[in-house]
């Protein structure tokens, strides 16, 4: 366990594994170069965000964009901070997070088994390929009214639309992962006497994991989009979508901008968590 954690942490932190025999360098000078490398890569990664904020600041300060459309970054971050600490922004973010995660859980519980089933049975997949592709290509927001009819105007309908959209993505990706399981590994299991069920459980499941995680991360993005839009337009009292549209209506631009940023943080954070989870679970990927 400890080793696994170290390994996944190491993977997250850097890709360069220390060479086994470094003859020229002492251990400490080696570590020093490594720290310098690490700092440099962090510095490189910060150039983008910092220039964006600088550009924002310039645009606001030099009045390139009307003050009625763009508050400055410092004011926005200030509002963000006070809304997070003293206001109810955390509550809104929590509400959105709760809906998104509920939708994802439903999609996962219903989607991963169906994906495995479809992926391991090519003729079954062929039969449903069109239906899945069709609904995947249909903007899920087009189905809002239908889900509202079925589930009524409350969180249930929001969760179910998001779950539906996430489910489609998951099914497709998991099925794809199972179908593209490496032939040799399946054969290896078969030649050792594994039954169909064992091949599915011991090989295909693992082989499909990489693609499953791709699906999960796509499902997170789609789920969050749907939840935010639903919160904007389907009778909500909280949630980031509701907060964004509300602040726009009352022209509280600083709150609107900071809500947008926090929503972005939500999406990015979820993505990051699952990326780390993927690197930890699918430790063999790309090796």
């Amino acid at each position: 366990m400890k080793e696994l954690l170290q390994r996944s942490f190491g993977l997250l932190a850097s890709n360069d594994v220390p060479a086994q025999g470094s003859y020229m360098k002492t251990q400490s000078s080696y570590m020093k170069t490594q720290i310098v490398e690490r700092l440099r890569s962090i510095g490189q990664a910060m150039i983008g965000p910092i220039s964006l904020i600088l550009l924002w600041w310039l645009a606001a300060e030099a009045d390139w964009v009307s003050e009625n459309l763009l508050p400055g970054p410092w004011e926005t971050f200030g509002t963000m901070f006070s809304n997070l600490v003293h206001g109810d922004m955390l509550k809104d973010a929590g509400a959105t997070l709760k809906l998104t995660i509920s939708a994802l859980c439903i999609a996962g519980v219903l989607g991963i088994p169906v994906g495995i089933l479809l992926g391991s049975n090519v003729s079954l997949y062929r039969s449903f390929e069109f239906v899945i592709d069709f609904f995947r290509s249909t903007p899920v927001t087009a189905m809002f009214p239908l889900f509202l009819l079925i589930f009524g105007i409350d969180d249930t309908s929001k969760i179910s639309v998001a779950a539906f959209a996430a489910w489609l993505v998951l099914v497709f990706n998991v099925a794809y992962g199972v179908m593209n399981a490496r032939k040799t590994r399946i054969l290896a299991a078969k030649v050792m006497g594994a039954s169909r069920g064992r091949v599915l459980r011991d090989v295909m499941l693992y082989e499909s994991l990489t693609q499953t995680f791709v699906g999960i991360r796509m499902a997170i993005s789609i789920g969050l989009v749907v939840i935010i839009v639903a919160e904007m337009f389907i009778g909500s009292v909280d949630g980031m979508g509701h907060r964004i549209i509300d602040s726009q209506q009352v022209y509280d631009l600083e709150d609107m901008y900071s809500s947008i940023i926090i929503t972005g943080v939500l999406g990015y954070g979820l993505n990051l968590i699952f990326l780390a989870l993927e690197r930890w679970i699918v430790h063999w990927a790309g090796r």
Binding site: T184, A188, V191, M192, A194, D202, H283
Partner: protein, 271 residues
Amino acid sequence: MTTHTRSIAGLKKKPFRPGKIGTHITIRELTKWYSGKPLYEDFELDIPKNKVTCIFGPNGCGKSTIINMIAGLIEPDGGNILFDGKSLKDTVIGYVFQNYRDALFPWLRAIDNIKYPLKLMGKSQVECDLRADSLIESFDVRFDLNRFPYELSGGQQQLVSIMRALAPEPEVLFLDEPFSALDYEMTLFIRDKLQEIFQNTKLTTVIVSHDLEEAVFLADEILLLTRRPTKVADVITFDAPRPRDINTLASETFIQTKLKCLEIFQREVRR
């Protein structure tokens, strides 16, 4: 096409002809068609027991196909294959793939890869451990089997594949070009390990090879195949004592045997 050829094979069903004494695997009336052309048609072969048979032949003659059909990885269109009179279902076999990277399970540690076939057979944890320990001992493994396959070198990974194939104590060991993805140093290493197994266990072994020297070096019998539709061109015996080493490679009988195989091979390729 498949059902068509199968029904033909069914029509002319001859009484089963057992192999000569010392035969382990009998292949009779084996038929396999690929894209409308026969690869194997009425193919017959006896593979001897407790011996190493190396299969060598021109490109595309179906060297791998034949062992895959024997091992049950490819379904033949017709004919039958028996192991001492038993079907494959009642026979424990081991199979080593050419590409160890794709054949081992990277989500299991090397040691668990080795134990996997035993787990499939429903063996207890203790039995798995005992068998793994005896394999580790007989192979004199010097690297850490608690690592994941991708943390091992190519040769170590192929050694793990071989140990996995041998774990359930198979009746027959199949190796499909086991050296072709290895560098020369590792090839020599694995070759010696294989020789040890032959010498110690007298396990019936079938090796597909694309390197004639290697085939002769390892073999008790070299099975030379023709171009498709594939037949047996000849079976050459090489009975140099084991363990074989550099001196074997330099010996007169080795050179003569290799030459003979080469002549047959060239005759078949030009045909």
